[in-house]
Amino acid sequence: MSIGIEHFLTVGALVFCLGLGIALSKRNAIGVLMGVELMLNAVNLTLITFSRFATSERPIAGHTFVVFIITVAAAEAAVALALAVSVYRNRETVDVDQFNLLRS
Amino acid sequence: MTRELSGPEVAALAEAAVPGSVAKTTETACYLKPEHLVQTLEALKTSPEADLVHLTNLCGVDFWDHMEVVYHIQSFVQNHIALFKVETWDREKPEVPSVTPVFHGAWMQENETYDLYGIKFPGHPNLYRILLWEGYPGWPLRKDFLSMPGGLQPGLGEFAGVAPRQEPPVKVIE
């Protein structure tokens, strides 16, 4: 029995879809954020998998991408959480259903 | 040495500050009229010759028929201490105006006096029973608190061979 690229890709795909489901279904803004983080993580996993298994001249490119994604995810988390806190402060809710200021 | 102002001296100061504020004068104390109390103490606190700035002590005393609130007020610069008293004759609803607006230090002591004597201090920002709990029956430091059936009174009545204390002027509440 051996573990190949398909196994890792399967895990990555499932985590991505779970993240997507969370991001689409959750009412709480922080919950949505968590889904997005999960999706990013799944992408990281896929990138590292390709970097490990693919025959490429520069396999380090996958790692580099992951570093950038982690950076962007950290920045995104900080900004999104600041948004959630400030939205809560102004609207007294973090329910995404209630974010309807643009509706006339 | 701190000079203990005699009653007439204190009364003179109080009359000079607020005319008509003194109810009566004894050798040591000056009895103020309750309605002029806050005004008089305020005036004496700010006047430089009286300079009564430090409300050292505030307590109540129960004399069976009436109750007194005693104020010892100290001056730092003049280094003298004055003794004021206020009488209240209503045992059911005793009331003495609060001096908390003038002396913040009266906050705790008036609460304590209210707690133990039941004397209300109108003008106090937050009058509550500070040592006992809300709903405690009675006012423990009043002389008629827990007067036992059979005429026993609080206080150490006698030693052997000594005449008993005289009867209180107020009927003991059973």
Binding site: V11, V15, L20, K26, E37, P59, T64, V66 | -
Partner: protein
């Protein structure tokens, strides 16, 4: 990638990752969801180790668990009790259906494609990564630093209260 140890480790880690990711989806308490999320991150870090990406695995734990998850916990703390419900919106069913469809497509693609793989793991240490970041990818690297600064400033500005802004204006 053969060997009983690796197979065992993969299945354990995959199970941890998937079960805790599912836990994020189903848990009603936002705090439990965050804790499941942390467990997912740790599981993904373990998978990174299996893929011989040690540096990335450690960075994953340090940044995701040590920083982002703690940040989310902090945000959960800052929103009062009423905001800690992790329930679903009315779009929950279509959203989950979409995710399931996407998963089916993904799985089909993954198992249908004949992947050409090399079994020899490339040597990818921290030093290679550093060299790549500072030579080939130096422009994105710099842009990322600008992005981080912008995020820092933006987060501070967003989370400030009008009172604090007024105080700063006076100072």
């Amino acid at each position: 990638m053969d060997g009983g140890g690796i197979v065992f480790a993969f299945y354990v880690l995959a199970a941890v990752t998937l079960i805790s990711a599912a836990g994020v989806l189903v848990s009603r308490d936002l705090l439990h969801a965050v804790l499941f999320l942390i467990l997912t991150f740790v599981g993904v870090a373990g998978l990174f180790v299996l893929l011989s990406a040690d540096f990335i695995a450690m960075a994953q734990v340090i940044i995701y668990v040590g920083a982002i998850a703690v940040l989310i916990l902090f945000a959960v703390l800052l929103t009062p009790r009423a905001g800690r419900n992790n329930g679903e919106t009315k779009f929950a069913l279509p959203g989950i259906l979409l995710a399931v469809c996407l998963a089916a497509v993904f799985l089909f693609v993954i198992h249908d494609v004949a992947w050409t793989t090399n079994d020899e793991a490339p040597v990818l240490g921290a030093d290679q990564l550093g060299e790549a970041l500072l030579t080939t990818w130096v422009l994105p690297f710099e842009i990322a630093s600008v992005l981080l600064t912008a995020a820092l400033v933006g987060a501070i500005m967003l989370a400030r209260t009008p009172q604090e802004e007024a105080e700063d204006a006076l100072a």
